[in-house]
């Protein structure tokens, strides 16, 4: 299996050179295989989220190198990094991060707006995604009126609007009860079946003990607990 994302000695330092300097990721090397479900596991403050942001091209490493397939992302200017990111990654966040005043459909369309595709086609695609996740009847509802389970599905639909190869989810079940968390893992199963690569940061056993997961990587204090290949 070929590596989709390759990280070498990644470090991420916040507030560098100041008294409140924090080193969130301390030299992590790993590679993520295409088509697999990978879970980053560890207590809060272990650097999972920071590593996830680096792997998802959301932030640039302070040092180290990162590759997306053949392409090196390490010192790409933010603009090009953003381009790579929205072409390759879809994100699901802990609080779902839907924009409250907008409808479910508008929220799903948001990541695609800067790309400049005709909006009619975009709205159709958003509708199809909502349909696929069983929330088509809520398409016109405002995001702040959605239930937790509905919001989660809308958030996943939004992550898929640009047809990304990789889905990145940060603590997706932290705000859900066990039933909805189970539903989430079912959705992960369907995404995996459709060939997506999935990276999840979670300290929820329902997630990292799921049979759907191909690989669990444990993190502590900014480092991987076992040497990853």
């Amino acid at each position: 299996m070929s590596a989709l994302i390759e990280a070498r000695e990644l470090r991420r330092v916040f507030h560098q050179g100041r008294s409140d300097q924090v080193e969130a990721v301390k030299g992590v090397s790993l590679s993520i295989a295409a088509g697999q479900v990978t879970v980053l596991r560890g207590p809060s403050g272990s650097g999972k989220t920071s590593l996830l942001a680096l792997l998802g091209a959301m932030a640039r490493p302070t040092s180290g190198r990162i590759f997306l397939g053949e392409r090196e992302l390490t010192s790409l200017p933010e603009r090009f990094l953003t381009e790579e990111r929205r072409r390759t990654f879809g994100f699901v966040f802990q609080q779902f991060n839907l924009v409250p005043g907008l409808s479910a459909r508008e929220n799903v369309m948001l990541p695609a707006l800067p790309l400049g595709h005709p909006r009619a086609g975009l709205a159709r695609r958003a509708g199809a995604l909502l349909e696929r996740f069983g929330v088509a009847h809520r398409a016109a509802a405002r995001a702040d009126r959605l239930s937790g389970g509905e919001a989660q599905r809308v958030a996943i639909a939004r992550a898929l609007i640009n047809e990304p190869a990789v889905i990145i989810a940060d603590e997706p079940t932290a705000n859900l009860d066990s039933v909805l968390s189970g539903v989430f893992m079912e959705l992960v199963g369907t995404l995996r079946a459709s060939g997506k690569t999935i990276i999840v940061a979670s300290h929820d056993p329902l997630v990292y003990e799921s049979p759907l997961v191909d690989r669990v990587i444990s993190m502590r204090d900014g480092r991987l607990e076992e040497p990853a290949p």
Partner: protein, 330 residues
């Protein structure tokens, strides 16, 4: 000093424009000093984000500058009755020695800002900010130009006194007078016309040639600059008399008036836009040797050359139309 609302607006606009470009240049200097593309530090990320601010500041400044140019000529025109002998902008500008330099500086600043934005746009094509150093050094040169234009503009307003006796465009741009305007007007119309069509035609051909082969960028730039100069002179010596249908009227400003269907606006807009695009092709060739631009820059240059050919071609067509439909023909 004449304190009319338009004058206050222009002075305010000049100050704002100078502040925008001055601020942009300052940001550019900060970026140049701290720039380290290999670093992933927060500082470097922040500097990269500042480049977006600089581009936006200069874009706004150019927009304001073009509008200010329009307002400036229009105001000079409206102030004319205040001066004995002035009948249009030509006379008002002459009423204080800062007038014409102010106009030329504003024009130069607008052209330079346009060229800068072309370089800025090309810089955005490469993945490693290939033109960053060149463009911010250019910006350090652009800022004083904009500030000088603002300074001269304000000096002109300060120097205006209603009792000043000046000359009208009839004498400034007449064949018998003295000075640059008169010398331009004294050019034989046929020669001026031939120069105009020759330079513009040459630039259009060079642009089409570059579009096809990707060669001759510097030739295109030189011909575009020549087309700009020859056309500005040609507007005085050749085009004006045809538009006014008066062999002795050579004013380049009256073209902007309603009586002549505002024909000056499309004429000057196509001429300026086309020659800036043409000069930009050459400038980008001089600057753009970076590896990251190998594929993207030539296609950008070809599009610019196409734009130059289109605008300069439209300019020539407009001039030809104005001459052919003139009552002065023959």
């Amino acid at each position: 000093m004449i304190l009319s609302p338009a004058v206050i607006a222009l002075v305010g606009g000049a100050v704002v424009g100078a502040a925008l470009v001055g601020g942009a240049a300052l940001q550019g200097a900060i970026i140049l000093r701290g720039w380290d593309p290999k670093s992933g530090s927060e500082r470097q990320v922040e500097l990269e984000r500042r480049t977006a601010l600089v581009s936006t500041l200069v874009e706004l400044a150019l927009g304001f500058q073009l509008l200010a140019l329009f307002l400036f000529v229009y105001t000079a025109d409206a102030l004319a009755p205040q001066f004995t002998g002035a009948m249009c902008a030509a006379g008002s500008l002459k009423a204080d020695p800062h007038g014409y330099p102010a106009l030329l500086l504003m024009l130069a600043a607008a052209i330079a800002a346009g060229l800068w934005l072309l370089v800025d746009g090309a810089d955005g094509l490469g993945h490693d900010y290939p033109l960053l150093r060149a463009k911010y050094l250019m910006l350090l040169g652009l800022a004083p130009l904009v500030v000088a234009a603002a300074w001269w503009e304000v000096a002109w307003f300060r120097g205006l006194h209603p009792e000043v006796i000046t000359s009208c465009c009839g004498s400034l741009f007449s064949r018998t007078g003295r000075g640059v305007g008169a010398e331009l007007a004294a050019l034989p119309p046929r020669l001026a016309g031939a120069l105009l069509f020759g330079a513009v035609g040459g630039a259009v051909l060079a642009a089409l040639g570059f579009r096809r082969s990707g060669k001759g960028a510097l030739l295109l730039a030189a011909l575009s600059a020549a087309a700009l100069v020859a056309s500005l002179a040609g507007m005085v010596a050749f085009v004006s008399p045809y538009v006014y249908e008066l062999p002795t009227h050579h004013c380049p400003f009256c073209l902007l008036q309603r009586e002549y269907h505002f024909i000056g606006y499309p004429l000057y807009a196509t001429l300026l836009g086309g020659s800036v695009a043409g000069m930009g092709v050459g400038l980008l060739s001089l600057l753009g040797g970076a590896e990251s631009l190998v594929t993207a820059l030539p296609s950008r240059q070809r599009r610019l050359a196409g734009l130059a050919a289109l605008l300069l071609g439209s300019f020539a067509a407009l001039v030809a139309w104005a001459v052919l439909t003139s009552g002065l023909r023959g």
